[in-house]
Point group: C2
Chain length 321, copies 2
């Protein structure tokens, strides 16, 4: 068998709207990559068959010898048991229940495979090659349609006892705040997610808030100097700074990396004011100057590269034997 050093990882990252497949070498270089609209909800076996065809085609088009591919890494949203390779549910894929997805990948690709939750994969990617290199603990904070996180402690994903850790979006920071779809009030997600930002803009009378789902419209209006939109951005910074300060007090992370449509797409407006607000809020015992708050360096490749890391670090032994 091909030795890992000259090998390639076949990597797949299925997001809510975009999917990404790629072939990544041992050093994290993406030798081939294809981005396409996320596949519609199909049966797991059918999805895996399509992914197999797509990755093979990608390798062929890039002139990469398929024999070099040593393993498959897969990243997606959902509830899963990473060790056993089972996806319990996956919001992007419709009504899946308890799918042995790792086994399906192994069978389709005839290669070892690993699966990972998207925020965890992105955290791993940023720790390996992005904004969080050498940082531990590391939190990858995804702010988009929802709010979630991937947390690394001592170089490992913090999963909790049952795999549901990282749900920072449903930590409450304002017990009298707006209703969240989880049933509580004032969850971080109900305050700083894309839809929450758009909602607050609407309430503030900003025309940018009319498109219910578009925080980006609010950011555009703010960049153009619209006072109502600027006020919404400032309020978002304050709310987000509470969530980030909570994280710092509880986990004392070395790095907090912002990703997702809001966290990444709005970083030009949010990041510097956020650092100032957190600096003002953190306890006097915290070394805030030594704590990194940064935007994702890998952007939409973070999950793909995290999936590659799984191949190189969790599958290489399996591959070598």
């Amino acid at each position: 068998m091909q030795t890992p050093d000259s090998g390639l990882a076949a990597c797949i990252d299925i997001g809510g709207s975009k999917a990404l497949v790629g072939l990544v070498d041992r050093g994290g270089k993406i030798l081939a990559r294809e981005r396409y609209p996320s596949p519609p909800g199909v049966e797991p076996a059918e999805l895996v068959r399509r992914l197999g065809a797509r990755v093979h085609t990608l390798a062929g088009a890039a002139g990469l010898d398929w024999q070099r591919v040593v393993g498959v890494g897969y990243s997606t949203a959902g509830m899963m048991d990473v060790e056993r390779g089972i996806i319990f549910s996956s919001p992007n894929q419709g009504d899946w229940r308890d799918v042995p997805f790792m086994e399906l990948l192994k069978r389709e690709f005839q290669l070892p495979a690993r699966i990972e939750m998207d925020a965890n994969a992105a955290a791993i990617g940023e720790a390996w090659l992005g904004a969080g290199q050498g940082a531990d603990p590391l939190v990858f904070l995804v702010i988009g349609t929802g709010v979630g996180s991937g947390i690394l402690v001592n170089g490992r994903v913090l999963r909790g006892w049952n795999g549901t850790a990282g749900e920072i979006g449903h930590t409450v920071i304002d017990l009298a705040g707006p209703a969240c779809n989880c049933g509580n009030k004032g969850c971080l997600e109900s305050l700083v997610s894309g839809p929450a930002i758009a909602r607050r803009a609407r309430q503030a009378g900003s025309p940018a808030g009319e498109d219910e789902l578009s925080a980006e419209a609010v950011f555009q209006a703010a960049r153009a100097g619209d006072p109502a939109a600027l006020a919404v951005v400032a309020e978002t910074v304050e709310l987000l700074s509470i969530g980030v300060t909570n994280l710092i007090h509880l986990l004392n992370p070395k790095a907090i990396i912002l990703g997702g449509g809001v966290g990444q797409g709005g970083a030009d407006l949010l990041l510097e004011p956020l650092k100032k607000a957190v600096s003002r809020r953190v306890g006097s015992w915290v070394d805030f100057d030594g704590t990194l708050i940064a935007r994702s360096q890998l952007g939409s490749d973070a999950g793909l590269l995290g999936a590659a890391w799984l191949v190189w670090n969790e599958l290489v032994k399996e591959i070598a034997t």
Copy 2:
């Protein structure tokens, strides 16, 4: 040198009002123990000299051969670098700054020594011999004059990059809440600590709130059926349930163990309603039935036994060589 199996750990736990010294065997049995009022703020060298004398006297009184003692474990509140053994500050000891306390202990006792923060030591104790055996992640939630926690992940203390993790008392759950001494509003500590409970009782017009520092008086009044005190207890449960649910969403701990004067002393009033409130609040994706919320089993011995664990698990190699 005595082999560890027949050895004893000299253990010290200095709290805000009570201090505890003890001699603990390999199995966690406390063979001798002395509780006494915490020593007044003295110079570190003087404290260590007194502790040495006290532990030697304790061993002698119990008829335990000092030659069996193989190491020293020390637990206290404060900011410290556990690896280097330096206590940066210790609220119970007055104005200490950057004290090489592990070295002082080694010199006084002529034995290897380890230090640990009190909440972490209690978490370790409960994981070893108490309510959290086999549970990971584990959170020991101290609710007393202040609110803090010790967090174990993959069997190790979660310290963060700079040793300040676990400060759950200063996570905000009510951004419009009462002022906290950290400068923010609505920190968990400002809502459910002993003084906060007494303050809320006072505001509710309960005579039990008149003693500014005594949540215990509020609990006593509640046990006697005082409606105002019962309402304060119910409100405390709701507020605490938000903090505990935040913990569950972020860390998905297998066990959350309540300690401290309020968490332990008020458990008869707080624990069962807390479980119900958290069960109502946690997201549908959380396996709450599999999550343990319990009171400390070791009570005031938790920190002492955590200090003993350090001797048996972190010093034994050092001792054996």
